[in-house]
């Protein structure tokens, strides 16, 4: 009996039951997320930082499988650093989003991760890109993660383009 009870969470995939959100405002972008990592019903980490740096002014927020998302972030972080050095100037947010999208699309069936890429560059200012399912789509604001379903309505009604940081 005890075996049955305790084996549940030990075999569950560790995932981030997450809410992540990114929005463009007048002057840049704002990214936010919660910090819970769950394996089934157990919370295995309550302080995970889900906003990860890809470059000085480009960050991404992660949802889905914690391992998958972190693996992608690691790869993109390295590639962005290389790209930035090669270009001799801060890279475009679109470049980061494209690298993320390429990885997510190529390994679409193996990965379970949704990354929201957001940042600021000198060419296009603040931008937010969603990369759900391997597509890349530029948006004014984006929400993601399993918890995002609860805030779709709120985000839709509360967002207006050209808001201030507050």
């Amino acid at each position: 009996m005890d075996d049955l009870l305790e084996s549940d969470w030990t075999t569950e995939e560790v995932s981030t039951g997450t809410t992540i959100i990114a929005a463009v405002f007048d002057g840049g972008v704002v990214i936010g997320s919660d910090s819970r990592v769950s394996a089934g019903q157990a919370v295995v980490n309550r302080v995970l930082n889900k906003v990860c740096r890809l470059h000085d002014k480009i960050y991404c927020s992660i949802s889905g499988s914690a391992a998958d998302a972190q693996a992608v972030v690691d790869i993109v972080d390295y590639q962005m650093e290389l790209h930035g050095i090669q270009m001799g100037q801060p890279p475009l947010v679109q470049a980061a989003a494209t690298i993320v999208k390429d990885i997510c699309y190529k390994y679409k069936e193996e990965l379970v991760a949704h990354l929201l890429v957001a940042g600021w560059d000198h060419k296009y200012g603040g931008q937010v890109y969603g990369t759900l399912g391997g597509m890349m789509i530029k948006q004014q604001f984006a929400v993601g993660g399993s918890g995002s379903t609860y805030i779709y309505g709120f985000a839709d009604s509360a967002f207006k383009p050209g808001m201030t940081k507050e």
């Binding site: 699309y105 679409k108 193996e110 399912g133 391997g134 789509i137 948006q139």
Partner: protein, 256 residues
């Protein structure tokens, strides 16, 4: 469930003799080795409509990317200009469409660079796409899209269909997805009595079909684009919305 980390011997993804073979696509099998085929479309587009008229072809699609039943992305374009004589619209997985778009755009650039004055004709594009889609399906890794290809070349209109299985055909009117059930009969009814539509008539027919689809397709959205290709080139107009009429709501009776 065994964890298959060994090399597959007979053929890729095939069964090793004496072993239990689980077909790719059984989503409940965790840990039977990596699945390298597209199993489920994620963000999808619904119907695409196409109609031939006198002097060109018109294609329309709404601007919605659905995530299952969630209307996730409400401003995505599912129509693209291939070159001055060809247009393309896709339903199905949006990531696969973006990939296809990238490949086609690069092909068209490469061809321009040859500088010999030749451009891909719609028939050529259709044939190429059919081969690609069929090949992918044979490798059990389809591009999960249904594509409508329209064009005007050498004074002739072209309208073709290719889907993820590599099924391809040409027809004066085409509709994918839900449109095949709702819009195609409407389009055929008009076109069978009057095969030669004018541009305006084609536009009216398309808008009527789009309205019906918005009423009756649960995964549609009232924001669409229309692409037209004629002798003069390609025009993608949008976004538009249908005028909807909900007056019949008052006629519902029986439970109050």
């Amino acid at each position: 469930m065994e964890v298959c980390n060994r090399k597959m011997n007979l053929w890729a993804n095939g069964p090793s003799p004496g072993e239990l073979y689980s077909f790719p696509g059984s989503t409940s099998c965790v840990g039977v080795g990596p699945v390298k085929t597209t199993l489920n479309p994620m963000v999808t587009g619904t119907s695409v409509l196409g109609v031939k008229f006198n002097g060109g072809v018109m294609i329309a699609a709404d601007m919605l990317g659905s995530y299952g039943s969630l209307a996730r992305f409400r401003s995505i374009s599912r129509l693209m200009k291939v070159n001055d004589c060809t247009i393309l619209g896709a339903s199905g997985d949006y990531a696969d469409y973006q990939y296809l778009k990238q490949v086609i755009e690069q092909m068209v650039i490469d061809e321009e660079l040859l500088g010999d004055g030749h451009h891909y004709s719609p028939k050529a594009m259709h044939s190429w796409l059919t081969r690609v889609m069929y090949n992918r399906r044979t490798r059990m890794n389809p591009l999960w899209n249904t594509v409508v290809l329209g064009g005007f070349y050498n004074g002739e209109s072209f309208l073709g269909y290719v889907d993820k299985l590599g099924v391809a055909y040409e027809s004066p009117s085409i509709a994918t997805g839900f449109g095949a059930y709702l819009a195609q009969p409407l389009m055929r009814e008009v076109m069978e009595t009057k095969p030669d539509l004018s541009r305006d008539e084609a536009r009216q027919l398309i808008e009527r079909c789009l309205k019906v689809l918005y009423y009756r397709d649960a995964r549609s959205y009232n924001k669409f684009e229309i692409a037209t290709v004629t002798e003069g080139g390609v025009e993608i107009e949008g976004p538009f919305s249908s005028e909807t009429n909900w007056d019949i709501a008052h006629m519902v009776s029986g439970f109050e």
